[in-house]
């Protein structure tokens, strides 16, 4: 049993409590909840890192301050699945201690149990986002 942040555990529970037929609807709710980028990044796309593993243009940026990380992610509205995944990671990791994020298990993605609904390409895209978030946290906390 992997230990998650409180929010991450809530997300995993939510996806495991609903029937398979409602999982996409739940993911869409998260997609709609992805916050817009703050102006300092919205106006400076060059600061953002592209997640090459994703099929859609997904960009992210991590700020580290006082041992905590702020996570920013953006994805276009024509790519709601990708937005949903970005939103889940943002909720699970934003504002957490950098050590918590570094230790955050990839098992989170498997535990959402979405692999029957979503293609392996998408799942790998989400792994790409998580890997890049962790790498930025690592680099910026040195």
């Amino acid at each position: 049993m992997v230990e998650y942040t409180e929010t991450a555990q809530e997300i995993v529970d939510a996806f495991n409590e609903v029937p398979v037929s409602s999982k996409l609807e739940l993911l869409l709710e998260y997609a709609n909840a992805l916050p817009a980028l703050p102006e300092r990044y919205a106006d400076h796309p060059e600061l953002l890192e592209r997640v090459e593993e994703c099929q859609s243009p997904v960009y992210l940026f991590v700020e580290v301050e006082d041992g905590k990380a702020n996570i920013f992610l953006t994805a276009p509205s024509e790519a709601p699945t990708t937005r949903g995944f970005a939103s889940l990671l943002q909720l699970a990791l934003d504002g957490q201690n950098i050590d918590t994020i570094k230790a955050f298990s990839d098992q989170f993605i498997q535990d959402l149990k979405l692999s029957d609904l979503v293609s392996p390409l998408r799942i790998r895209g989400m792994h790409g986002m998580l890997t890049r978030i962790k790498r930025q946290v690592q680099e910026k906390s040195l």
């Binding site: 996409l24 609807e25 993911l27 869409l28 997609a31 090459e52 593993e53 994703c54 099929q55 859609s56 509205s77 024509e78 790519a79 709601p80 699945t81 990708t82 949903g84 029957d116 609904l117 979503v118 293609s119 392996p120 390409l121 790998r124 895209g125 790409g128």
Partner: protein
């Protein structure tokens, strides 16, 4: 063909104008009996964010493939799927989707394996409908369940297997992947993760024509002159009447298959859905690396 055709003059130039409808035509014909509108997108959540009123969703990932074998649904499963969606055998189907109808043409091809006769693609797809400010809804479409008959899948006419490709050398073969995948620099699409073929390159003699060369910037199909130039002249199809198209898993090549068969009217066009994920991992099949098509291999 019982349903009214779209007489848009653009479509008259194609060999099978009955396989296309315009956004104007669809808007005017929505909700008429005998018509079923189907959305098939790459992003499987896009339909839920808003769709053409009355459209039903077809999920390429969870609904068209056999759950265990790497194959499509059989006749029984397809009949159950279409019955549950409220589609009848004699309905006119209009299919549209995201990304220049990439997945819409894939759904079209899969449904043609079961011989559904009247299927049409919405020219320009989802993007054009939205661009023109036409109505979208998130209302769930209710269509009364039907009794779609069990039809045996026809794997001969429009589908090619690896053995068919080996027997096809000397006739036109179109590789619709990106130039980097064709040359063998990479085994997957730019910006897409690797889906696991063991070797990079292309099937010997294949002409490289990335699928998106068939569409304009507004995602509608190009004119017959442009398509003739791209495929018949430059890709060396010429007078040939037997062509196979392939990509990585058979979806992008469905788009080219549609263009070759329905717009250009080539008599026999097959989609090799095993595509590069099969060929690039198969034992002892010939492969060519680099930008040249390569010669007909000896001994195959």
């Amino acid at each position: 063909m019982t349903y009214e055709l779209d007489t848009n003059p653009k479509f008259a130039q194609y060999k099978h104008p009955e396989a296309l409808v315009s956004t104007e035509w669809l808007e005017a014909n929505l909700n008429k009996p005998g018509l079923a509108v189907i959305e098939c997108d790459e992003d499987i959540l896009l339909f839920e964010t808003g769709h053409i009123p009355g459209a039903v969703k077809l999920d390429w990932h969870t609904e068209l493939n056999h759950p265990v074998t790497r194959d499509y649904l059989n006749g029984e499963d397809m009949a159950a799927l279409l019955s549950a969606k409220g589609i009848s055998r004699d309905d006119t189907l209009v299919i549209y989707g995201d990304k220049s109808n990439w997945w819409a043409t894939y759904a079209f091809w899969v449904l043609k394996l079961f011989g559904h006769s009247d299927i049409r693609i919405l020219d320009g797809g989802r993007a054009k409908w939205i661009e023109e400010g036409r109505e979208l809804t998130t209302d769930v479409t209710q269509r009364e369940a039907t009794d779609y008959p069990i039809i045996a899948r026809d794997d001969k006419s429009i589908r090619a297997f690896k053995e068919d490709v080996l027997a096809h050398f000397g006739k036109p073969l179109i590789d619709v992947r990106s130039p980097e995948e064709f040359s063998g620099e990479r085994t997957h699409m730019p910006n897409y993760p690797d889906e696991g073929a063991l070797r990079g390159g292309h099937i010997p003699t294949a002409a490289s024509v990335p699928w998106s060369r068939a569409v304009e910037e507004d995602q509608t199909f190009k004119s017959i002159e442009d398509l003739t130039d791209v495929y018949i002249n430059k890709a060396g199809i010429g007078e040939a009447s037997d062509v196979i198209a392939y990509c990585r898993i058979g979806e992008r090549s469905s788009h080219t298959w549609f263009v070759l068969k329905y717009l250009l009217g080539i008599e026999k066009v097959r989609n090799y859905d095993g595509s590069w994920t099969e060929w690039g991992s198969a034992v002892r099949v010939p492969i060519v690396k680099g930008t040249e098509p390569g010669a007909v291999p000896v001994g195959f």
